[in-house]
Amino acid sequence: MPLLEVNNLEVCFGLRSGAVKALRDVSFTLERGERLGVVGESGAGKSVLGFSIINLLSRPGHISAGNVNFEGKDLASLAPEELRSIRGNRISMIFQDPMMTLNPVLTIGVQMVECLQAHRQISTSDAKRIALKRLQQVQIPSAEKRLDQYPHELSGGMRQRIVIAIGLLLDPDIIIADEPTTALDVTIQAEIMDLMLNLCEQNNVALILITHDLGVVSQVTQRMLVMYAGRIIEQGPTKEIINDAQHPYTQGLMNALPQMAIPGQKLNQIKGTMPPLQNIPTGCSFNPRCEYVMDICTKKLPPFTQSGNCLVACHMVADSQHGPQQEKLRSEEV
């Protein structure tokens, strides 16, 4: 049984202008100790996906359908108090901007100790000892001193190390890292990423890495999800997707990587922009930008088709898999 199983998850934001679906029909699984990458453009629903796993969507967002199974419990419908006992304890989260994540008026020590005491009956001095151990694990110099310091006394990189230390405090099963290095100085991005990956591996923690850095995903994750306009359009082993992407959008992303560029020529890019969530085209949401667009793409939502070890939501892939059948079906329709 997988550690985490997300089934047909749908997230709605009820706005005055009507409900907007930020996630549609999202299903995937995560195994113990696995590293899963979530990629996509800004606004594709990556962060919403991360927050919806622990049911921490900001108002007016809410899970409107589907379920999130973790240890036999459905996190999407769990009572607040039970949910609280899982958050930070079994599933923790690392946020994007360490300058904003820590409370400016509480010391690092307080923010670590409260997390331990929220989940365990533990004395403050014991909690401090654990906190100190974690700070040393994330290689913070003179860790003891840091417990009494406030966030503003530390650099961005340091703060993210502390956020990682807080994420690992209670030996969680899953860490959801939402672009954990985006806000950091380029020179320390790799360092922080390595640190996080090493600690996850040492503690056998499954990692959901949300990012738009395909390079990082290709290097460090075992499986990946590609999201577009609130849907997973392709998922499977990272190697397979990187080497042989099936969906035209994923192919476009790969071709847009600077490594793919020919010197002296313009970088490749996918034409157009992602549609706003209020205004997603019928059929395949990628159809206005797709260079292989077919008649059916503008009419019918593509189903998930197994291709190798990947699941792809594309009519073209479906056709090439069950070509004759599809042809027959379509001629019957006509």
């Binding site: 921490l56 989260m93 008026v105 409260e114």
Partner: protein, 325 residues
């Protein structure tokens, strides 16, 4: 820390100088003090001699310098009406006003924090919406109307509370007449305090609510939820502390403003404080007393703002008044 106080002291000196200059310069336009000082029978000639004696005919600058020279020695001149040093007269009325402001402040803190926090956490509940609506009404009603309404209801119709004066007072340490130590004094304090609080309370509820709602949207509060911290701790430790930072700054200034607002409240309730005294002084063209009042109120502003900055420094770790590492 010492550097902070030295800096504050010099700022205060400048502020006091400006206040004294302004208040001194308006006294010429308040009317003729002689009219109140002497009776109808005194001839114009005698009046002129008196004016010369009192130095009222000297050029403005000469008058001001004479005043300033005495003022730095703590002598703000004699009240024409009381025939006593103006400063002394005011100081005698200061406890009544400060206790009124104190009472109003307690009411504001006791009500605005829980109501503001609650309506920030549950903005959709009918209670929050009612409070928001009422606060607009509260801000719009003039103080004297609130006062008259309260007197009518609680003093006349229900006969629960006294409608005027301070009631029984006790002397503390020889110079401070307090009404806080007797049941009668406290009963007298209730209606004036609520009246004075009525202007600021809606403002504070709205301020706390708005700040709190903003803080609740912040990343660090979201992170606290993600850590699995209990809602109570998130609201009252993570969010409230950050909410109070701007509230303290605004609140400090408002407490100073309230000292000025006491003029209306004290008049309606015949509260023997500085504000009531000030209004009488204006009627009697008792210029030294008016000038002294403005200077004392200015000093109260400076002191409260200094205290607020100190408290702010204690609450906000990113501010370091002490200058230490």
């Amino acid at each position: 820390m010492i550097a902070f106080f030295v800096k504050r002291f010099f700022q205060a000196v400048v502020v006091m100088f400006v206040i004294s200059l302004i208040s001194f310069s308006i006294q010429d336009n308040l009317g003729d003090p002689l009219r109140e000082l002497v009776g109808q029978a005194v001839s114009e000639e005698e009046r002129q001699t008196m004016r010369d004696e009192m130095g009222l005919n000297d050029p403005f600058l000469v008058q001001y310098l004479r005043f300033a020279k005495k003022a730095v020695q703590g002598d703000l001149g004699n009240s024409y009406f009381f025939k006593k040093p103006a400063f002394e007269v005011i100081m005698k009325k200061l406890p009544a006003t400060l206790e009124l402001v104190f009472g109003a402040t307690i009411i504001i803190v006791l009500f605005s924090v829980p109501i503001g926090v609650y309506s920030a956490i549950h903005p959709e509940k009918w209670f929050s919406k009612t409070v928001m609506g009422l606060s607009i009404v509260g801000i719009s009603i003039p103080v004297f109307l609130t006062a008259i309404g309260l007197i009518y209801l609680f003093a006349i119709e229900l006969n629960w509370l006294p409608s005027y004066g301070r009631g029984e007072t006790t002397s503390v340490m020889g110079f401070w007449e307090t009404g806080l130590l007797s049941a009668d004094g406290l009963r007298h304090l209730i209606l004036p305090s609520f009246t004075l609080a009525s202007i600021m309370l809606p403002l504070f509820i709205r301020l706390i609510r708005a700040e709190m709602m903003e803080v609740l949207q912040s990343e660090y509060v979201k992170f606290a939820w993600a850590k699995g911290i209990s809602p109570r701790r998130i609201y009252f430790v993570h969010a409230l502390k950050n909410t109070m930072l701007p509230v303290i700054t605004v609140g400090g200034v408002q407490i100073g403003t309230m000292v000025a607002y006491t003029i209306l409240t004290e008049t309606v309730f015949q509260w023997p404080g500085m504000g009531f005294l000030f209004l009488e002084a204006v009627n009697r063209v008792d210029t030294p007393l008016i000038v002294a009042y403005l200077i004392v109120v200015g000093a109260i502003f400076v002191v409260t703002n200094t205290l607020v900055d100190l408290i702010y420094g204690l609450v906000n770790p990113t501010v370091n008044l002490a200058g230490k590492k």
